[in-house]
């Protein structure tokens, strides 16, 4: 039972990060109808920025703030400089351009920082607190849950309660109609990318310090798992992304905890296959358009 609780909390904590990262993918998918394959590399870059700022200033929080700010800037720049210029009638080209951005970012980081892992610190202890003699949750896990929850609530409020959020939804839902209604669709798209950059950067900053530290490739697997999470949940659904993220985190934790050898990737593939065979557009997709 001990072990089950431990694995569950550990899985949920990582799952929350995957969920936030998947949310970033959903943001761009809803706005631009494309999967941002450069999300991981963008987050690697913001992680390095947090590392540099924290090292220079000694403050974790300043590093966190600059990572989020840098995420906004990198996201917006990616959209303005590259994605906007890619022929929109060929979504595959957008995928390839994103992969190009991955290579460029990773190469630049490699040249600037070298290939050593840079250890990063966390602001709260990672030792689990005991409740009634049962080790449950560490302060850092709590920090992760709270941060991810704040991000989700803030995004939810923004999309339902603010003018900008409603405009973004309109631009994503029906660009032509939104344009007629006077919404600057291009600007809304840039905003989606900026937000996604910030959310992805924040998510990466929650997980990278608990692993090997900053590295040009530190977020590669985070991206893969988050992408899986987003696909499981349905790329159109923010709630699905969160559910998918938690689910992927738990599966990873249980499999590597309970099975002798590390089959986590195989199990992820199995989950994905089953989900997609039953619901080809993810668990929380709306019913597909009528087919002939």
């Amino acid at each position: 039972m001990d072990r089950f609780i431990f694995l569950t909390v550990d899985g949920l904590s990582r799952g929350a990060v995957f969920a936030a990262f998947a949310l970033a993918l959903v943001l761009i998918w809803r706005g631009a109808r494309l999967v941002n394959f450069s999300q991981g590399a963008m987050a690697a870059a913001t992680t390095y920025i947090a590392y540099s700022v924290t090292t220079a200033s000694g403050s974790y929080w300043l590093g966190l703030a600059s990572a989020v700010a840098a995420g906004l800037v990198i996201g917006a720049l990616t959209e303005r400089l590259v994605m906007r210029r890619v022929d929109p009638s060929r979504p595959l080209n957008a995928v390839i351009a994103a992969l190009g951005i991955v290579l460029v970012i990773q190469a630049v980081l490699g040249i600037l920082y070298g290939s050593a892992y840079r250890a990063m610190d966390v602001p709260f202890s990672r030792r689990p607190l005991s409740i009634g003699g049962q080790a449950v949750l560490s302060p850092y896990d709590l920090f992760v849950f709270v941060t991810v929850a704040i991000v989700m609530i803030a995004l939810g409020l923004m999309f339902t309660r603010t003018g900008v959020g409603l405009k973004m939804r309109a631009a994503a839902f029906n660009p032509d109609m939104a344009r007629l209604l006077g919404v600057d669709v291009g600007r809304m798209l840039t905003l989606s990318w900026a937000l996604a950059g910030a959310v992805g950067g924040l998510a990466a900053l929650l997980v990278v310090p608990t692993e090997l530290g900053a590295h040009p490739h530190a977020t590669d697997l985070v991206f893969v798992y988050a992408f899986t999470a987003a696909v499981v949940g349905g790329l159109d659904s923010p709630v699905g992304a969160v559910g998918g993220g938690l689910c992927v985190g738990l599966v990873l934790s249980y499999v590597s905890g309970y099975s002798g050898s590390d089959l986590s990737a195989v199990v992820i593939l199995a989950v994905l296959t089953v989900v997609l065979l039953v619901r080809p557009a993810g668990l929380l997709s709306r019913p597909a358009a009528r087919q002939v």
Partner: protein, 371 residues
């Protein structure tokens, strides 16, 4: 009438393949061993990029897992060659048997993925195939006793037949094997895309609903093209295993799958000729950029950082620029340049009515179908 045309097309393609083959044989005599090895590697990649370009360009299905399919072929090849070697089988069966096994194994895996893929759209299929790629190392570690874990397996390869002479370089023989496989793949795919099935593929890609109304079995078409594409990738993987005499999971990383896709796009999606350019690029670009970084590095520490990273940087920038400036890829550029050159001097109605890119390039209509 249609029958006769089809037969003519086959004959024509065969003739071209024979001429190309003869040219390649001559080429292998002109090249030093390392260039022959590169030519062979390129031919192995070409099997995979050609299959991938047909899948992505003609059927509109995006696969990020062709590296995993190549791995399937490579492992099948290695395991079969070990079995045959133990049984005392010698060339040519020791070469052909494993390659056939590579094709079959990859086709089976491709069939399974294709069955799932027939129901999925754009990013969902991409997600599934992406996961397929990251599963490869997990499987080889789990079945380390059979698949050799991280270290992989070695592949039993016999030297060039004695009939060719003792001084015949192994690399030339490898180039022959690989180029034969690549030519056969290209021949098959060229015939396939030019056939009725190719037209069905394009119809499905452009508008599934219309295709269904026209009596095309959409699901079957999608699965079949996935199997064909996977079989080509499997052959490429098998050839690669034969060339390198080894197979290991690290050779078929996620990055490799992505590079295959990039090669296809830079070459020109849907164009078999573009697949040739893509394969060439995969082989040549790392070497060219390494040359560049050798000339730029001034201090040892800078060299350590520039090495490798600079080539990634250049590759990335090329990718971005190509997708923005040349959405039809290199082959699109060459075709239109060739078209411009030809037109003023020899204004033939055929050239004018038939734009080089229209038959194999994806039309824009395809992409509006993504959800």
């Amino acid at each position: 009438m249609l029958d006769r045309l089809a037969r003519h097309r086959l004959a024509r393609h065969l003739l071209i393949a024979v001429v190309a083959g003869a040219g390649l044989v001559a080429l292998t005599y002109a090249l030093p061993p390392f260039r022959n090895y590169q030519l062979a590697t390129m031919a192995a990649y070409l099997c995979a990029t050609a299959g991938l370009t047909v899948l992505v360009g003609l059927s509109g299905q995006l696969s990020l897992g062709h590296g995993a399919l190549m791995a399937t072929g490579a492992y099948a090849c290695a395991l079969t060659s070990a079995e045959l070697g133990d049984a005392g089988v010698t060339a040519p069966l020791l070469l052909l048997g494993p390659l056939v096994a590579a094709i079959v194994a990859a086709a089976v895996v491709g069939g399974v993925v294709g069955l799932a893929g027939a129901r999925l759209h754009g990013p969902y299929l991409a997600g599934l195939t992406l996961t397929l790629t990251i599963v490869v190392p997990a499987i080889t570690t789990t079945f380390a006793d059979q698949l050799g874990g991280d270290q992989g397996l070695s592949v039993l390869v016999e030297p060039a037949p004695a009939g060719l002479g003792i001084a015949f370089p192994l690399e030339r023989w490898q180039a022959w094997i690989a180029c034969t496989a690549a030519l056969l793949t290209m021949l098959l795919l060229a015939n396939l895309t030019g056939s009725r099935f190719g037209r069905e593929l394009r119809a499905v890609r452009d508008d599934e609903v219309a295709a269904r109304l026209a009596g095309i079995d959409v699901g079957r078409t999608k699965v079949v093209v996935f199997v064909v594409s996977a079989a080509a990738a499997g052959l490429g993987g098998g050839i690669l295993a034969v060339l390198t005499q080894s197979v290991s999971p690290g050779a078929f990383s996620l990055a490799f799958s992505l590079f295959l896709l990039m090669a296809v796009v830079i070459g020109g999606t849907g164009s078999l000729a573009g697949a040739v350019w893509g394969a060439l690029l995969l082989v040549a670009l790392p070497e060219l950029t390494a040359l560049l970084s050798d000339n730029l590095a001034t201090s040892p520490r800078l060299a350590e950082r520039l090495d490798g990273n600079l080539s990634l940087l250049v590759f990335g920038l090329v990718l971005i620029v190509v997708t923005i400036v040349l959405p039809t890829g290199l082959q699109g550029l060459f075709s239109s340049a060739a078209g411009r050159l030809r037109r003023p001097s020899r204004p033939s109605p055929v050239d004018l009515t038939h734009q080089p890119t229209t038959d194999t390039e994806p039309t824009d209509a395809q992409h509006t179908s993504t959800p």
